[in-house]
Subunit: 294 residues, 2 copies
DNA sequence: TCAAAATGATGCATTGAGGGTATCAGGTCA
DNA sequence: TGACCTGATACCCTCAATGCATCATTTTGA
């Protein structure tokens, strides 16, 4: 097999078409250069150069091999730089898990800020619910999640990225929608309610249960995704409590009204990651999160 | 700078995560392998491996550099093969000059046969008149031409690829077209004739002059391209003599009739190339031409 | 708790690859 | 023909890579 030194030597000779000049360029003398080229030709089993009384010229194989050598040497020269960039986290990929609901408000702004701070970092988006995100963090298939509490897991670090309130999605024809006033929680008791599933959307389920007295006979349907509840409300199947950011969705048939006296930090969204991750780009992004607000 | 040997050594260690096993794989002993990796790390200024009491693991820089090394080594390994392929002519580019008229019949078939015999050879097409082709051959901007005689030039080799007859392009409303019979040469003397330019299309000019007595007052227009003459005939500007293959053009307003007693090898088309060319793919194609007929 | 095993690092002697100087061989040019 | 140019060869030297023997540290298991 040939060496990078031989490749560099060949490039010099092929460009100078003169062993002496090439040797100067390589800061060596002509005889060892001649031998290197001979050895290279022997190891390849190809004649690369035609020796003329006045300089040399390239054979077809030489022309072809010159192109290969240039590529090879260029790549060898930038390999350490690229490794350093990746190791420093300036260049890399962060696989980000997010819930559909979280995307409405923070995702765009988050991606913008990452791109601005670290143009070399690519964010790979993976939509999944909070529970899946924690599994994926552990198995290493994502680097960071945008997760709803709770996420008490060994080695998981986190940073709160968003707090918001809950609002009420009301079918547009519903009297409460027509009234257009903030809705006191107690007024919801008598209404048909769309509820979060206990298993799949535990966080929102428990939030709603803590806010209003949910009577089973008043629960028309159960779903796990915010978007689904809004769609069902739009279709007239009942009222639902959704995060404020879902109010940005413009879905015909549904009106969003504030929930009276609801604290503004009711719903939390946290960035989560494994402190043990070896992905430097992840740690850059995690560090960024502490400095910025979304 | 690091060497390919070090890159291979690092790949082995990174894959085995064990110096001893990696050394076995590289057919060497463990101590020099350790030292090679140390030297590599030193020359890069990066820690690539974390040494544990039980084997090693990769740092982020190591992960990144591993990818670079794999690429680098793969490229180094296939460089000789690719050079050999290009040198053998199995892979390469042949720049082919052709005249618009020659394209009508042989070009498609030629390209098909080349593709079949040498799938790795790409033909780059450059349309130009015969005289330009010879210039381009000499200057090295094409490798082969499809040329009309004469091409007596030092070092130019050739191979006849097509002989054909001349036919007469007659405006469809012309009495001779209506008659629809082969036309004797002497009958053309009294007609308006479209003539090839003496400078640009010397070959066809001389051919026509040799066949019929062209009286200057009967020459309505002069052009250098076969297609132009056919178009002018279609527009009713006179009769023209064109190669048989031009009869395949379906242009409204023109009828093609045989020229009575015209020999079938009147018009020749030759492939031409420089015997001194260093393009192996060209010589493959040139060799192919002697074996096939188009 | 202690000996054995595992694993990477280090010391040392040997070999060989790569470089330098001097010179040769073949060709060009005045 | 003689001075030159240019790549190849002969010969020597240095140093880097290898292998062997051994060390240091940690884990394992009785």
């Amino acid at each position: 097999m040939f060496t990078l030194t031989q490749a560099r030597a060949f490039i010099a000779v092929a460009e100078e078409l003169h062993f002496g000049h090439a040797a100067d360029r390589l800061h060596m003398t002509q005889p060892p250069l001649s031998r290197q080229i001979q050895k290279l030709e022997k190891s390849l089993g190809l004649k690369l150069l035609l020796r003329h009384p006045r300089g040399v010229s390239l054979t077809a194989a030489g022309e072809a091999f010159l192109l290969e050598c240039r590529q090879l040497v260029a790549q060898a020269e930038q390999a350490p730089r690229r490794a350093r960039l990746i190791a420093s986290g300036q260049v890399g990929v962060v696989r980000l898990g997010y819930t559909a609901a979280s995307a409405y408000r923070v995702l765009g702004s988050l991606l913008t800020q990452i791109k601005e701070a670290f143009p070399g970092i690519t964010v790979e988006l993976h939509e999944m619910v909070s529970a899946r995100q924690l599994e994926s963090l552990r198995s290493g298939s994502i680097d960071m999640g945008l997760t709803r509490p709770p996420f008490h897991l060994e080695g998981v670090e986190s940073n709160m990225v968003l707090t918001e309130s809950l609002i009420v999605a009301v079918p547009s024809k519903h009297p409460l929608a027509v009234r257009g006033q903030p809705i006191p929680p107690e007024e919801l008791q008598g209404e048909q309610i769309l509820m979060y599933s206990h298993g799949q959307a535990r966080y929102f389920h428990d939030l709603v249960v803590g806010l209003i007295d949910v009577r089973p006979e008043k629960v028309s349907h159960t779903a796990s995704q915010v978007l689904t509840l809004v769609a069902l409300s739009a279709a007239g199947h009942g009222l639902s409590l959704v995060p404020e950011s879902a109010g940005q969705l413009s879905i015909p048939g549904v009106t969003f009204l504030p929930l009276r006296n609801a604290p503004s930090d009711l719903v939390q969204l946290h960035a989560t990651w494994l402190s043990s991750s070896t992905n430097p780009a992840l740690h850059k992004v995690a560090g960024l999160l502490q400095e910025i607000s979304l």
